[in-house]
Amino acid sequence: MIRYLLQRLVAFIPTLIGVSIVIFVAIRLVPGDQITATLGTEAGMLTDAQREQLRQFYGLDRPPIEQYFTWLGGVLQGNFGYSIRFGQPVLDLILQRFPLTLQLALMAVIIALIVGLPIGLMSAVYHNTLIDLVGRLLALLGLALPNFLFGTLLIYILSVGFGILPNAGGYISFAEDPARNLSQMIFPAVTLGFAFSAALMRTARSAMLEVLGEDYIRTARSKGVTERRVIWRHALRNTLIPVVTLIGVQMGYLLGGTFIVEYIFSLPGLGRLAVNAISQREYALVQGVTLFVAFNFVLINLLVDVLYAAIDPRITYR
């Protein structure tokens, strides 16, 4: 097991290098640079000497290959570069934003689990009944309703209907004031969790249906095992594999930041950091955030694989 984990960790390296090359090239292919991004049309008022100075200042005068290796060398020493706009090292910025993103992702997944899993399982167990119909309708609604619409609707209902809006900027972290923090985080988490719960519902339902049709379930039933025991003990465990896979993938996405929800609810998370960095052409920041997100993704994949072994005794890693 230990050996397997080490192997997987080593395999991270080529993945991350690949990601870093792709993002390095991609961000440079986008027209415009940090000079025009910060100065806008006023960049046209620069003299040649000033332009050259700025290019040196931002490190744009050096050949891209050299830029890449300088950056990579820095990353290996834990130096992800410096954001000029924020006046802070890139890694500090990422670590400041990450707790919010992590909290939001966890809350969204928990909400999705609470809502999606039971309804999905009930839908399967009470297949083709009213419960199933309502469950499937809910799932369809959740999949069809985009985040930005659901989030905006929530804000509209809260502000116009109830005259409250916890998400009016001024984000408070959990450590500072847990109650205020939760009141700010609950609605974005519901927005994200609602869409995810729909996906979870459908996956859980179809997985459960499949398992319920398996021979061993029939055998269990014919042995006279109670229905309750059949579902909870035999079927549930086997439905969990696709559910865990889905949660892993979703968690990976959520940890990359959820720009739209952060934007609508004015939360300073990783997604907004990344998108603003792109529009400002802050190359070091874009590269840093992307690498960080890619790292999260592979790490979660690994965790999911380890979880498989815990759920299903047939799976072992050597």
Binding site: G32, T36, G40, A43, R85, G87, I110, I114, I155, Q280
Partner: protein, 505 residues
């Protein structure tokens, strides 16, 4: 699972109730909460060009002179000024008893250091080009400054009324690091700036004017303008800056909120690139100008929130649009001009920044529909802002829909475009001797009536040559709760008068 879920649900409800109760019971501090969509991009007042940065820095730093609500030049750190005969020397008397936020006195040495910094090429100051006419700066005593000018230069006075020309302490200039500190003479002191989140300002107790009455300002970034609207309605913010007329007008009939609007001096314009065929033909450009109903563009894109305008938008320089070439749509004339130009069916591309301003795309669509009537097909190319700016600066377009910033003085407003040596001549792509010489005359003339006559002629000629098609100027919007009193909206969008605001909750 179900017990756990019940627990979570209860926890969430309790948390919500607690937060509501906490908000209701605590007395709100005497701090103004301001919301806006875009954040400051840097703290150096001399190099920042983004509007969002200027809105913050003008509360911290102060210039020598400023503009009142009618865009007249009024004293600020300079109490009095006069031009010598022939307008080659400008002498100023400075206000006494003004202190910087670090406690040091404001004197003529700071003024000299500031303008030397602005003029130094390495600083990359945004206003450098408008001060290049300064030959030397003399400081006869602590409270007098004399600017010796290379040539007669009247518009330079208006250039002093800019956030890009605010006075910084000579110690900070010597130190050279403006990126983390902001030390001015203004009504508010910067406490903390958390980029993309919030900026805290405290009242400056040593400000040379009485006040401010509020303890400070909390300036929050709420990226979505409809969320700003919701925050206003929910009473979570006291004051807001709005860009999108479609969002702002939703507040018109709201009984609890005051919407302030002042005519902006920034102008919406349809730029033609006269260096490309067929825009190099005068008749073709004029045909486009005659084919466009400017009011229709304004109605379609901004719900009529604005005024059709000629090239000069500041109130003192405006001209009745009836005096301008083809400001009423005339399709027959347009078709006749098309024939004269010898241009048949033609396809042009228009570059448009996708969300900056929010109205740009609808403007392009309105123009597209109108030009189709004279056989000109307009292909709209929506671009991300930075890409748009890049191509705009290179002059790499057939036509461009733009929102360009205005200046209170016509010379400073257009020197970059409509003079032979203008820095953005490559964007304007059109110049003739008449325009160049009228600009030169307008720069040297100090008699207001004669200057007005020169710039009237300049506008008429410019519109007739139709290198660009000026459309309209919109409004600058701010919105506030009814209990916020004393704010005076300014056409330059300045927030300086927040210093006089009181919260009468």
């Amino acid at each position: 699972m179900s017990r756990f879920s019940r627990f979570l649900l209860i926890a969430a409800v309790v948390a919500l109730a607690l937060s509501g109760a906490a908000a209701a019971s605590a007395q709100k501090p005497n701090v103004l909460i301001v919301a806006r969509a875009a954040d400051t991009t840097g703290l150096d007042p001399h190099t920042q060009t983004a509007f969002a940065s200027l809105r913050l820095l003008e509360l911290i730093y102060e210039p020598l002179v400023t503009l009142d609500a009618d865009l007249n030049i009024v004293p600020l750190l300079a109490e009095k000024w006069e031009f010598s005969e022939g307008a080659t020397v400008l002498s100023m008397k400075l206000r006494q008893g003004v202190k910087f936020h670090d406690g040091s006195d404001f004197t003529s040495a700071d003024v000299k250091a500031t303008f030397e910094r602005i003029l130094k090429e390495e600083t990359k100051a945004a206003a450098r080009s408008t001060f290049l006419g300064i030959d030397s700066i003399e400081t006869p005593d602590d409270y007098s400054v004399v600017f010796k000018l290379k040539t007669a230069d009247v518009p330079i006075l208006a250039s002093f009324a800019s956030v890009n020309a605010v006075i910084a302490p000579s110690e900070l200039i010597a130190e050279g690091d403006f990126s983390k500190k902001a030390i001015g003479t203004g009504p508010f002191v910067l406490r903390e700036w958390k980029p993309e989140e919030v900026t805290f300002l405290d009242r400056n107790p040593n400000w040379w004017v009485q006040g401010p009455a509020i303890e400070g300002i909390e300036m929050r970034v709420i990226p979505d303008e409809s969320a700003i609207l919701a925050a206003l309605r929910a009473g979570e913010v006291d004051f807001a800056l709005l860009n999108d007329p479609l969002v702002a007008t939703l507040l018109k009939d709201d009984p609890n909120i005051t919407l302030n609007r002042v005519p902006a001096i920034a102008y919406h314009v349809f730029q033609l690139n006269a260096s490309r065929a067929p825009m190099d033909k005068l008749e073709f450009r004029q045909a486009l100008s005659c084919a466009i109903d400017r009011q229709e563009v304004l109605d379609a894109a901004s719900l009529g929130e604005g005024t059709v305008t000629g090239p000069l938008t500041p109130p003192a320089w405006r001209i009745d649009t009836k005096e301008l070439f083809c400001y009423t749509k005339d399709l027959a004339k347009a078709k006749e001009l098309m024939a004269k130009a010898g241009v048949g069916e033609v396809t042009l591309k228009a570059i448009v920044a996708s969300a900056e301003p929010p109205t740009a795309l609808s403007e392009a669509q309105s123009i597209q529909a109108q030009l189709a009537e004279i056989g000109v097909k307009l292909e709209i190319e929506p671009l991300e802002l930075s890409v748009y700016v890049d191509r705009w600066l290179k002059g790499d377009f057939d036509t461009a829909v733009a929102l360009n910033g205005g200046r209170p003085d016509p010379y400073t407003m257009y020197v970059r475009y409509w003079t032979k040596t203008g820095n953005l001549q490559g964007v304007a792509n059109y110049i003739d001797d008449t325009l160049d010489s009228l600009m030169a005359q307008g720069r040297a003339e100090s008699d207001p009536a004669k200057r007005k006559a020169i710039f009237d002629q300049f506008q008429k000629h410019l519109v007739e040559m139709a290198p660009w098609i000026w459309l309209y100027n919109g409004f600058e919007y701010t919105a506030q709760q009814k209990y916020v009193e004393g704010f005076i909206p300014n056409p330059t969008d300045s927030l300086y008068s927040l210093a006089a605001v009181i919260l009468n909750r």
